[in-house]
Symmetry: C2
Subunit: 247 residues, 2 copies
DNA sequence: TCAAAAGTGTTCTCCCTACACCCATGG
DNA sequence: CCATGGGTGTAGGGAGAACACTTTTGA
């Protein structure tokens, strides 16, 4: 295909007085949708950030935050822009995990979406422009969702379950300082299993990813628990040798 | 957005005498690209199927098989169609693993591609329409590729490495009947490591995924080796209990 | 003083690893 | 008969799993 052919397959064209884009072949719209997970340390549950749709289709329904891609940005940049708009965060964990392309998944026109998994510290989230319509839902108590977002959400959960075996991404959900119990409850919430306290602590400390702090936490007005922080340097050196979390 | 608004964002429009599609906002073209891996049991190496581009851009360069999505098909269907065109196979392993969206990755217009990993038995492949231009390359001896296909290829290889720990997808690369040695060499080619023969066989047999056949193979004119086949039933029951291949 | 959560160590078992010899076949 | 590859078992070590009592603190 030479330069001449390019000219006849895409062009700027006015239609009904509206400036727009013309293509010889049909083009789908492309969006990104973000499954934003947060961890509620008080209740030990995984939460997902949803927004209430203000426009049709599915007006009034809850949906994953997302939006159309701009011509100059990658889908990664698009997803990060969306994430920033909804949470105010610009450096959270963000990773694409699947695309969804059923032709009629959006009644307006054909829309293909690239879905992203985001992990944020709930307490760092500040409401964005859409703050009023955004809300955290317990992962086990999600309302009916717009489009195919329920499928996307379940796939994200499954992806998180697999991914956490290879990367300690759980730390992106916890505050800077956390107790061993919080870390364990988080892993239990994600993986849906129960661990023995002693074995869990032993295993985690074995990885040399945790720094024991001098401070103590007393969240439940009972005995004070040791606080830890995630040590990225130790983790990075560990990663080079390769590691796998076995549960 | 109501029905009226839908009408003004997308329309059938003729431009310079060519029937085409008009959108209020720019839409990227969407393609799928397939990284088709095969296993050369004779040399014990992983191969990838590439096609020589017959048109610009990158005319004459080698590239991953791929093509534009049709309005009525999902990307999965599109990829399977491409795979069938190139290999004649319609039931091979096929799974999407990532999308690529750098705005200028295709000089013609903006193209977003959904990349797929396909695993086929090389001996089952029959040349398609493009047979003349398709060729198998050793994974360690790949020529310069068109677009960002080199990146896609490396990502596919990495994806395969991770995926094989959770699903016994290696069997999709082997003939129906294979020797333990062939299976081992395949795993070594994919993972880039060497295994002890005895330990490898012990571990594999432990999973109860292999059926020992009565026949023997004598490919190298030496002692006959036991032939095995992959037992899907055993694997399926095993899968429910959850398993992980540890290497 | 009681209830609730935290800290901590040992034993047993299983699986992974390392390792070497004999067997069958073709040339 | 010899070269080549195939088949097989065991011993040792390390990591995961099971398991209970004591300590601290607030109420």
């Amino acid at each position: 295909m030479n330069q001449e052919n390019i000219a006849v397959t895409t062009a700027r064209v006015e239609h009904n007085g509206v400036d727009g884009f013309w293509y010889k072949y049909p083009h789908p719209a492309v969006t990104t949708d973000c499954v934003i997970f947060g961890y509620d340390a008080v209740n030990g549950t995984l939460k997902v950030l949803l927004i209430e749709r203000g426009i049709d289709p599915h007006k009034g329904k809850w949906a994953l935050p997302g939006g159309f891609i701009n011509p100059s940005e990658t889908t990664d940049e698009c997803a990060r822009r969306e994430l920033k708009e909804e949470t105010g965060l610009s450096d959270a964990f963000l990773e694409q995990f699947r695309s969804y392309s059923t032709p009629d998944r959006d009644p307006r026109e054909r829309v293909i979406t690239i879905a992203y998994l985001a992990l944020v510290r709930m307490q760092d989230v500040v409401g964005g422009d859409d703050a009023a319509s955004a809300r955290w839902f317990d992962i086990n108590d999600v309302p009916s969702l717009a489009f195919d977002h329920k499928d996307i959400l379940w796939d994200a959960r499954e992806y998180l379950r697999v991914r956490i075996h290879f990367k300690p991404i759980g730390f992106d959900l916890l505050p800077e300082k956390f107790t061993m119990r919080q870390l364990q409850t988080l892993y239990e919430a994600i993986l849906g299993v129960q661990f023995d306290r002693r074995n869990f602590a032993k295993k985690m400390l074995h990885f040399d990813m945790l720094t024991q702090l001098d401070e103590k936490a007393n969240p439940s007005h009972k005995r004070e628990a040791i606080l830890y922080s995630f040590n990225k340097e130790s983790y990075d050196t560990l990663k080079r040798k390769g590691f796998r979390l076995e549960f």
